[in-house]
Each structure stands twice: as structure tokens, then as C-alpha cells.
């Protein structure tokens, strides 16, 4: 059962704007649409530079364009934040550790965005 968003929504936004893969590739500064095609088919993850270029082209934040990938990373970071929070709870409580716990709790308990 698929209840999670797609890795990315590049194809949707490209079609919405009526652009071809070659045209997007030109805007990204690459030779052909092959790389765009690979990104759209989730075969290859784009570099940070390319991801930012997609944000410029489609006028959508990266977390929306790569919603599935964002959710996956968000979960992984939350799991690590849980481990770090467990570790820091054993430290001597002071202002700095209290601040740290607030930050980590915010990461762990981040409510899911509605789709």
C-alpha cells in the first residue's frame, strides 16, 4: 500500500508549466533532457545545485518538489534526534542542555504535513 508521497513531483510541475525535458535541461545548463528524465523517474537524485535550479524554474520550495525524499530524511533525522536526546538527558541540566532538549523535542515531535 502506498500511503507516502512520491519521491519527487518534478514531472507534475514541468507538465503544469508546459515545458519539455529538453527545455528544462537547457534551463539547468545541461546538454540534453536525459538527466531531467532520470530525476523525474527517481533513478537519480539531483545535486544541491540542480535541486535549487528546479526550485527557481518551478517556483516551488524544494521540500514540496521532493516531498517524498524530504519526508524520508525528516524521519531519519527525527530518529537520530531521539538518540541524541537520550544521550544528552544524562548530561548535567543547565540552560544550554534545556535549550538543546527543546530543539530536539521539536525535531522529534514535528507534526506531519497534510497532503
Amino acid at each position: 500500500m502506498a500511503s507516502s508521497p512520491l519521491t519527487n513531483y518534478l514531472r507534475k510541475h514541468r507538465k503544469r508549466l508546459g515545458l519539455s525535458q529538453d527545455e528544462v535541461a537547457f534551463l539547468l545548463g545541461t546538454q540534453s533532457g536525459t538527466r531531467v528524465c532520470r530525476n523525474e523517474r527517481f533513478v537519480r537524485e539531483p545535486s544541491l545545485e540542480t535541486a535549487l535550479a528546479y526550485e527557481v524554474i518551478f517556483q516551488q520550495p524544494i521540500r514540496e518538489l521532493f516531498r517524498g525524499l524530504y519526508r524520508k530524511i525528516e524521519k531519519e533525522v527525527a530518529a537520530r534526534a531521539g538518540a541524541l536526546a537520550y544521550r544528552t538527558r544524562r548530561q548535567k541540566p543547565n540552560r544550554q542542555t534545556r535549550r538543546k532538549h527543546q530543539v530536539l523535542d521539536r525535531i522529534i515531535n514535528k507534526p506531519d504535513d497534510e497532503t
Binding site: 502506498a2 500511503s3 507534475k12
Partner: protein, 182 residues
């Protein structure tokens, strides 16, 4: 209170035609995630099944929505009827739920009052609902001596997906509760 099963998140709807198929992927309440045509040549049914398998692998839908091709009085060709049956089997092999909707059900969902119950009226309605996605895909009204535009399959697929979602929403909505003393 009745517990409803969780609503399928992603729907893949397919419109079958003589040229190939149109598809639409609907997510959440009514967000179009993808839409388009797959043109097939040669062994059309085998080609169409291959394309649908690719779509299922890519989008991992929860449900497949298809036009009902085997209802009594349906005027779909023998090839399309066979393809419809094969797609239901394909969905079963991928453990996907399947919904079949008739043309009548589609028209009832989108066309009200005295409006013409034509595919073009349906497409106009959907182009109005999704102006950014489908607005520039709306083909001109078909002349009687011309064959149907291939882009019409996209509208039919979107209509299937959206109609399925609207029917699910209606079923999940609690009915009017009786008030005491009324």
C-alpha cells in the same frame, strides 16, 4: 459509529482507447500528481499492459480505476473488453484494489442539469477544475467526420479518478443525524 477503512492515498486511473491509453494519478483529496497519454502500436493489448505495469511500478498506487467495459449495452470493441479484463487481472497480481465506473456514473458526477452529456462537456468541466494542469490540453470540439483527439483520453482518465474519489468521500461522509424532539 461505523469505522471506515483508510482512504486510498494514490489512485491510478486509465482510459482505454484505440490509440493506446490515457492515465491520471490522483493523490490525497484531489491533487493531480501526473497525467498523460501512452500511445501503443503493434500488439496493442500487450503493449498497453506493459505500459500499465510500468506505471504501477513507478507510482505504486493503492487503487486502479478503470472504465467498465463489460457492462450490458457497452459499445466498446472486443479488444478493449479483453484489455479491460486483463487489467483487472493485472491489478489483482499487484494486490491492487480495482474500481470500475460506467460512462453514466462519470456523467452523473460532473454534468448536471440540462448540459449536454458529451465527452467534450466533461473535458471542459475538468479543464475548468484544473486550469493549470489541463487547460491547454483541451482539444477542440470533435467534428462528426473526424476521429477523437488522443488528448481526450487524459480527460477521461482524470474524470475516472476524480469520480472515484468523490464517490469515496460521499460514502465516508456521515449521513444527516436525526435531532431529538424535531
Amino acid at each position: 459509529m461505523k469505522n471506515h477503512p483508510p482512504q486510498p492515498f494514490r489512485l491510478l486511473a486509465l482510459a482505454l482507447s484505440s490509440k493506446g491509453l490515457g492515465f491520471a494519478v490522483l493523490e490525497g483529496r484531489a491533487t493531480l500528481a501526473d497525467w498523460g497519454n501512452k500511445l501503443v502500436t503493434g500488439d496493442k493489448n500487450a503493449g498497453a499492459l506493459k505500459k500499465v505495469s510500468e506505471l504501477i511500478a513507478h507510482y505504486e498506487p493503492d487503487m486502479l480505476v478503470l472504465p467498465a467495459t463489460n457492462t450490458p449495452g457497452s459499445r466498446r470493441s472486443a479488444r478493449i473488453r479483453k484489455l479491460g479484463e486483463a487489467l483487472v487481472t493485472l491489478a489483482a497480481t499487484h494486490k491492487l484494489k480495482t474500481r470500475l465506473l460506467t460512462r453514466e456514473q462519470l456523467m452523473r458526477e460532473f454534468i448536471t442539469g440540462d448540459q449536454e452529456r458529451t465527452k467534450h462537456a466533461l473535458a471542459e468541466c475538468l479543464a475548468g477544475r484544473y486550469p493549470e494542469e489541463l487547460g491547454d490540453r483541451l482539444p477542440p470540439k470533435r467534428r462528426p467526420w473526424k476521429s477523437e483527439d488522443y488528448r481526450m483520453d487524459i480527460f477521461e482518465a482524470v474524470a475516472l479518478a476524480l469520480a472515484c474519489r468523490l464517490r469515496q468521500d460521499r460514502r465516508r461522509k456521515p449521513g444527516p443525524t436525526k435531532q431529538r424532539g424535531a
